[in-house]
């Protein structure tokens, strides 16, 4: 499956009210192109931190499923995040990793997953027991259905082929944030002075 096909599976499986945190570059571009929603939080930088943002959100909003769309190169940059997720264990956190075995956004250089690194095994070793690797769209859909029914946290590593991104999210970071917070029911209040 291509990353674009896999993104269609995720958008189709995720309820409209469920927050999705997207890693910068192609994961965010595809998520926007397939299904832009106010509940999507697109990062434009901070490579590696999508799973950490998702962890923080999942800790303070245990009532919601929190989906992270990460990349293999990004997660490799912040592997410690798996240890913290495995420690805090938010039951409704679902980290999806598009593993194309390449730094595709930067020109297709190899990542370590092309040479033996196994991110699902790393997740399990860090205490994230619900960690699977999938290769076909129906397996990805089945894994997402399980993740929504069975307590996590979940790490779903989806082996994908690179596909050209077909859109780009808005560049306005504050717009992305405020739209997102309002959509998940935590609108950011207007700042107020203490005296007129």
């Amino acid at each position: 499956m291509t990353r674009l096909e896999a993104t269609h599976v995720v958008v189709g499986a995720v309820d409209a009210g469920t927050p999705v945190i997207a890693s910068l570059g192609h994961p965010a571009y595809d998520l926007f192109a397939v299904g832009d929603r106010p509940t999507n939080f697109y990062t434009w930088g901070s490579m590696g931190l999508a799973s950490s943002i998702g962890l923080g959100l999942a800790m303070v909003r245990p009532d919601l499923h929190v989906v992270v769309v990460d990349g293999d190169g990004s997660l490799l940059m912040n592997l410690g995040s798996l240890a913290t997720v495995g420690w805090r264990r938010p039951e409704r956190l679902i980290v999806i990793v598009w593993d194309n075995e390449a730094y595709a956004t930067t020109g297709g250089q190899d990542t370590a997953t092309k040479h033996g690194a196994d991110l699902a095994a790393a997740a399990r070793a860090m205490g994230v027991t619900q960690a699977v690797t999938v290769r076909e769209t129906h397996d990805l859909g089945a894994a997402l259905n399980r993740a929504r029914r069975e307590p996590g946290p979940w790490v779903i590593v989806a082996k994908v082929q690179e596909s050209p991104p077909t859109g780009k999210p808005p560049l306005d970071c504050v717009f992305i944030k405020q739209r997102f917070m309002e959509a998940i029911g935590r609108p950011e209040a207007a700042t107020q002075g203490e005296s007129a």
């Binding site: 990062t43 434009w44 950490s52 923080g56 959100l57 999942a58 909003r61 410690g80 970071c173 944030k177």
Partner: protein
């Protein structure tokens, strides 16, 4: 509150554990991860604080410049200083000297309490500005406040 441990901060953590049980604390493996978690906490409606040693500011810069500052994610940052007056470890000195310049370059306001008695007011005013203006506010805790009795190398 998300943090990477530091010995001077252990006193703060002990007080939080006994007197402020409503404050949730999480240990991150690395400081930029702590800022990522704090970003998610704000998105979920919490008021996050990140605590770190000054050396960890170097591990945090990309998170600050490409996530926290451009998305205007407010948070209080408490930095226990190394490399300032009283330092014995040469490897701590360069970052200790650079902290203020780095924060200024990143447009992050900071303040440093003059004494232990001044810490509460400093943190409160930084927090008011941070959460009131959707920006980061950094409190620098100098060694003369956090380690007042340490004047020589540890045993």
């Amino acid at each position: 509150m998300v943090y990477v441990p530091d010995n001077p901060l252990s006193h703060v953590l002990a007080v939080l554990a006994t007197d402020y049980t409503d404050v949730d604390t999480t240990i991150a493996t690395r400081e930029e991860e702590a800022f990522g978690i704090a970003a998610g906490l704000h998105l979920g409606g919490a008021r996050p604080t990140v605590m770190l040693q000054s050396s960890g500011l170097g591990n945090s810069i990309n998170a600050l410049t490409s996530l926290i500052v451009p998305y205007q994610l407010p948070m209080l940052v408490v930095i226990s200083m190394r490399g300032d007056a009283g330092e014995w470890n040469a490897a701590q000195v360069p970052m200790g000297r650079a902290v203020r310049s780095i924060l200024e370059a990143l447009t992050i306001p900071y303040a440093s309490p003059a004494s232990a008695g001044d810490v509460e007011a400093t943190v409160a005013s930084l927090g008011r500005t941070a959460f009131g203006t959707r920006h980061v506010g950094a409190c620098l805790l100098p060694r003369r406040v956090t380690m007042p009795t340490e004047t020589k190398e540890p045993r």
